[in-house]
Amino acid sequence: MTDVFDRRRLLGLAAGAAALPLLPPDAAARPLDAVLSTKRLRAGINPTLPPMGLFNERNQIDGFDADIAREIARRMNVELEIVQVGSPDRIPFLQSDRIDIVLGSITRTVERALVIDYTMPLHTQSMVVLTKASGTAVPINTPADLNNRAVRLVQVRGTVGVPWIQANAAQAQVTLLDNYPDCFRALAQGRADAMVDVAESIVIPMRNFQVQWKILDEVLASFWVGIGVQKGNTSLRDVLNVILFEMHRSGFVNTTWQKYFGVPMTTPIPFNPMF
């Protein structure tokens, strides 16, 4: 009989698995000096989060985050290199020193702040309930309606709505899908009744689906989104903070926001020189 596994193969696999955590060695963060001397700032942007990151008609990465990164590079007098990142790999990209900064709706949380360093907030997010105007199996008119065993929710994996549901609508049935288009499709097809997510992530891409959407008025929570840098890269972070302050003061952030959303931020960023 042929072996399904022989011992050597098995040992090799086990050794490979054991070595896995050792693979990314101490890839030291590129401090400010390295960015300046190479004259290149590498920004990780997720193009699957329109309008924060998107592919434009020339198939280049564009969007709010790209505009912000370009302005940061301009003010630092270095060239910008946009690196495409996805949701699960953006932090490894940062930690293995393939990018200097990471954007893409990275909501500030304590758990994440243990792993990366954040700049001061770039923008805010407001968590809302999305449902259909045409009505659902269970009527959803207030966020409290979600806490019902008959309510089916659909969420993108790892988004901030998931812990909110666990705390506030624990009775609802939740299906976690991979991305926003899949969630909108599930809602459109009647697989789910509602979704809890930040308005900034849904208002633009939901237009691709021919559905009369309804967003409940209540804002369930506000979140703060900064730019991520590798843990301990304070020389770069400190400069970014000053640049962000100036970009808020000059109105660049708000103008760019309006360009992509057509409306101001739901939760404005207070003007604060102390950071």
Binding site: M1, T2, D3, V4, F5, D6, R7, L10, L13, A14, A17, L20, P21, L23, P24, D26, A27, S87, P88, D89, I91, P92, Q95, S96, T109, E111, R112, L114, V115, I116, V154, R157, G158, T159, V162, P163, T175, L176, L177, D178, D182, R185, A186, Q189, G190, R191, Q230, K231
Partner: protein, 222 residues
């Protein structure tokens, strides 16, 4: 970068539940696929022309298109026709039909590998068709195909990771959830890799037990 495994051990029980889900989904789909494959291989070997054409079309369709696309169709296209399958149902049906196609091919090859002399001998001894299949072909098929079948089972066990896309909370899905919360990607995915290796070993061992007890195949697993 210093790895902090202490921050992620809290997810381990959750990951192990996900591993269990992966194991049973693969097990059920493989068992279903084996049954479909046995029927398909019998049809291809002994069936009339029309049935052979039908089975061939099924095998071609499911082996020439990716499993992911097949399940995507079940999960996102069928609702347009008013049929809404739950995540687990869609994944189970998709994986079973896909496995059935591959296992038809594998088992047909096993049927073909029976030496004609043995079939002649069976005929000489006056065996019926059913007796020939059971006493001559089946033992031969099981012995000859054991490695191919167990390989396919392991591939299916690892392949359950795509179920995360369709909302099944198996190992990969749970890893992605934990990763989004903690951002400790290297720690999480290295733990998950080790669990997948353990799953592969468990899957091989399960098949070894089945082969040993049901078919008396003495396969060397490790």
């Amino acid at each position: 970068m210093i790895l902090q495994y202490g921050q992620v051990w809290q997810y381990l029980p959750d990951f192990l539940l996900g591993a269990l889900t992966a194991l049973w989904i693969a097990g059920v789909a493989f068992a279903g696929g084996l049954a479909i494959g046995l029927a398909g291989a019998s049809a291809l070997s002994f069936g009339p022309w029309a049935l052979r054409a039908l089975v061939t079309a099924y095998v071609r369709f499911f082996t020439y298109t990716p499993q992911l696309v097949q399940i995507f169709f079940l999960f996102f296209a069928l609702p347009e026709a008013g049929i809404i399958l739950s995540p687990v149902t869609a994944v189970l049906i998709g994986m079973t039909l896909n496995a059935g196609a591959y296992l038809t091919e594998i088992q047909r090859a096993g049927f073909a590998s029976v030496p004609p002399a043995e079939l002649d001998a069976a005929e000489t001894l006056g065996f019926s068709r059913a007796q020939t299949v059971w006493y001559v072909i089946a033992p031969h098929v099981v012995r000859a195909l054991y490695p191919a079948l167990s390989n396919h089972y392991i591939i299916m066990t690892l392949g359950t990771s795509m179920a995360a896309i369709f909302g099944v909370e198996e190992l990969t899905g749970r890893a992605l959830n934990a990763n989004a919360i903690s951002f400790r990607s290297v720690e999480i995915f290295s733990i998950v890799a080790v669990i997948y290796i353990a799953l592969t070993i468990i899957a091989s061992a399960l098949l070894w037990l089945v082969g040993r007890w049901l078919f008396r195949v003495k396969a060397k697993v490790f």
